[in-house]
Amino acid sequence: MRRLELVKTLDPRTKLLLVVVISTLSIVVTDVLWQLGLFLFSLGLLHLGGIGPVKVFSRLRRFLVLFAAVLAIQSLFAPAGDPLLTIGSLHVITRGGLIKGASVILRMLTIISSAMLLLTSGPMRLVLGLIHLRIPYEIAFMVLLAIRFLPVLGEEVRDALTAIQLRGVRIKEIPLGQKIRVYTYIFMPVVVSALLKAKKTAVAMEARAFRAHTQRTYLDELTLGRKDYAIMAATLLTGCGLCTIYLLGR
C-alpha cells in the first residue's frame, strides 16, 4: 500500500518527465531486448501506481488489430534473415521481419503504457502540472476536457450502432463494403452530437465566468517535494546513462 502511495503522490510534472524519458529511450534504442526491458519497466511503474498488468492489457486490447497489421506489413515489406514461410518466390514471413515488427510493436506498447502513468494523477492535478510548465490555462483545460469527453464519444457510437441495428441493419452479417457505409452513416450524428455537447459545455463554462479574470487561483497547489526532485534527477541521469551505454555498445 505504501508503494502505491509513492507513485500516486508524485507531482504530475515528475510523471511527465518520466514519460518523456521513457518514450525517448524507446525511440533511441532499436534492440528488441532493450525495448522489452523498457516495456517491462513501464509496466512495473504502472503497477506501483495502482494499474496492474491485467488492466493495462485490457486497455491495450483495442490496439490489437493495429499491432497485427504492423507485424504483417513489417514482415512482408521489410524481409530480412531466414525465411520462415515462402509462397512462390515471395518470402512472406522472415525471422528478421518478425523481429523488426516486434520491435515496432514493443515501442508503441512502451509509449502507450508509459503515457498511462499520467492517468494515475487526477485530471485536475494534471492540468495544474501543465500550468506550472507555463502552458496557458485554456490549453491545459482543453486537455482536461478531451480526457473527460473521450468515453462520452464511445458511448455515443454504441448508441448509434444500437439504434441502426434496431432499424433492421444486420451489422454482423452484411458484407464489408456495406458495413463501411453503415459506419460512415453513423459517423455524422456522432460527431454532430459531440459538437453540440461541446457547445453546451462552452455555454455552461461561460455562465460560470470562465476566462472572465486573467488571474486564477487554485484550490490545490502543487509543490515539488524532495521526493520529486530526487526521482527527476534519477530519471534524467538513468536516461542519459542508458542512452550512452547503448550507443557506445553498438
Binding site: Q165, L166, G168, Y185, V192
Partner: protein, 219 residues
C-alpha cells in the same frame, strides 16, 4: 402463445448493485401495458432487456417462444419498435425525411412506397414543414415526434415507449393518446414506460408497477 415470457430475470450493470431482481411476467400479443414506478426503479433497464439491448445476468426472456439470446438486434427491431427516453439517441440520418425513410428502405420497399409512407408520416406527425431540416436542429418536441414517426412507419407489432409524455403539452398528449389508440386498432400492442400513472391507466389494459427493481402487479 405469449409475445414475451420473462422468467426470473435479474440484471446488474457491470460492477454495480442489481437493478432488476427476479422479475417474471407474461405479455400477450396485442396487449397494452403500462410500466410505472418512481425514477430509478429500473423501468428503462427492463425495457432495454425486453429488446435485447441489454442481456439478462440471470433468468431467461422468450419472445414468441424463442430464447432471446438467439435473436439479433435487427431481428428484434423488425418485431418491436423502441422509442428511447432521449430521442436524440436514435437519430442518425442527415434529414428528417431520410430518418423516416431509412428503416423502410432496409425493409426492401420500392422508392415510390417509401415516399408515400414518408409523406403520410410527415403529415400525421406535423413535421412536413421540417422535412428537409437536420434532425439535431429540431425542437425537443419535434425530435420526439420524429423518433416516433421513424419507428411507427415500420408498423411494428409491438412498441415500447420510454417516458413518451415528458415534455408534451396537453394538446400533444391528447394527440399521443390518439396515436396509441390507432396502434391498438391496428392490432399492435405497446408498453408504455411512464411515471405518470394516470396516463398509463387511461391508455392501457394492464399495469405493471416497478419498485426498487421488483415487480408489483396491479390489475
Amino acid at each position: 402463445m405469449d409475445f414475451w415470457t420473462v422468467r426470473h430475470v435479474g440484471f446488474a450493470y457491470p460492477g454495480r448493485q442489481p437493478v432488476i431482481r427476479d422479475v417474471s411476467f407474461h405479455i400477450a400479443p396485442g396487449e397494452t401495458v403500462a410500466l410505472t414506478g418512481p425514477n430509478g426503479s429500473g423501468k428503462t433497464t427492463l425495457g432495454k432487456l425486453l429488446l435485447g439491448i441489454l442481456k439478462p445476468c440471470v433468468g431467461q426472456i422468450l419472445v414468441e417462444g424463442r430464447d432471446m439470446a438467439d435473436c439479433s438486434l435487427a431481428e428484434m427491431g423488425s418485431k418491436v419498435g423502441y422509442i428511447f427516453q432521449n430521442p436524440e439517441k436514435q437519430m442518425f440520418a442527415p434529414s428528417v425525411r431520410e430518418e423516416i425513410a431509412f428503416g423502410l428502405r432496409y425493409r426492401g420497399y420500392g422508392d415510390e412506397r417509401v415516399q408515400e409512407k414518408v409523406d403520410e408520416m410527415l403529415d400525421y406527425f406535423e413535421l412536413s414543414h421540417r422535412a428537409d431540416s437536420f434532425p439535431f436542429n429540431l425542437s425537443q418536441g419535434e425530435k420526439q415526434r420524429l423518433a416516433i414517426a421513424a419507428i411507427m412507419a415500420l408498423e411494428p407489432r409491438f412498441v415500447i415507449f420510454d417516458e413518451p409524455t415528458t415534455g408534451l403539452d396537453m394538446r400533444r398528449k391528447d394527440r399521443f393518446a390518439q396515436l396509441l389508440e390507432r396502434t391498438r386498432k391496428r392490432g399492435a400492442g405497446y408498453i408504455l414506460i411512464s411515471h405518470d400513472r394516470d396516463f398509463g391507466a387511461a391508455c392501457c389494459h394492464r399495469q405493471l408497477m416497478m419498485k426498487e427493481g421488483k415487480l408489483h402487479c396491479a390489475d
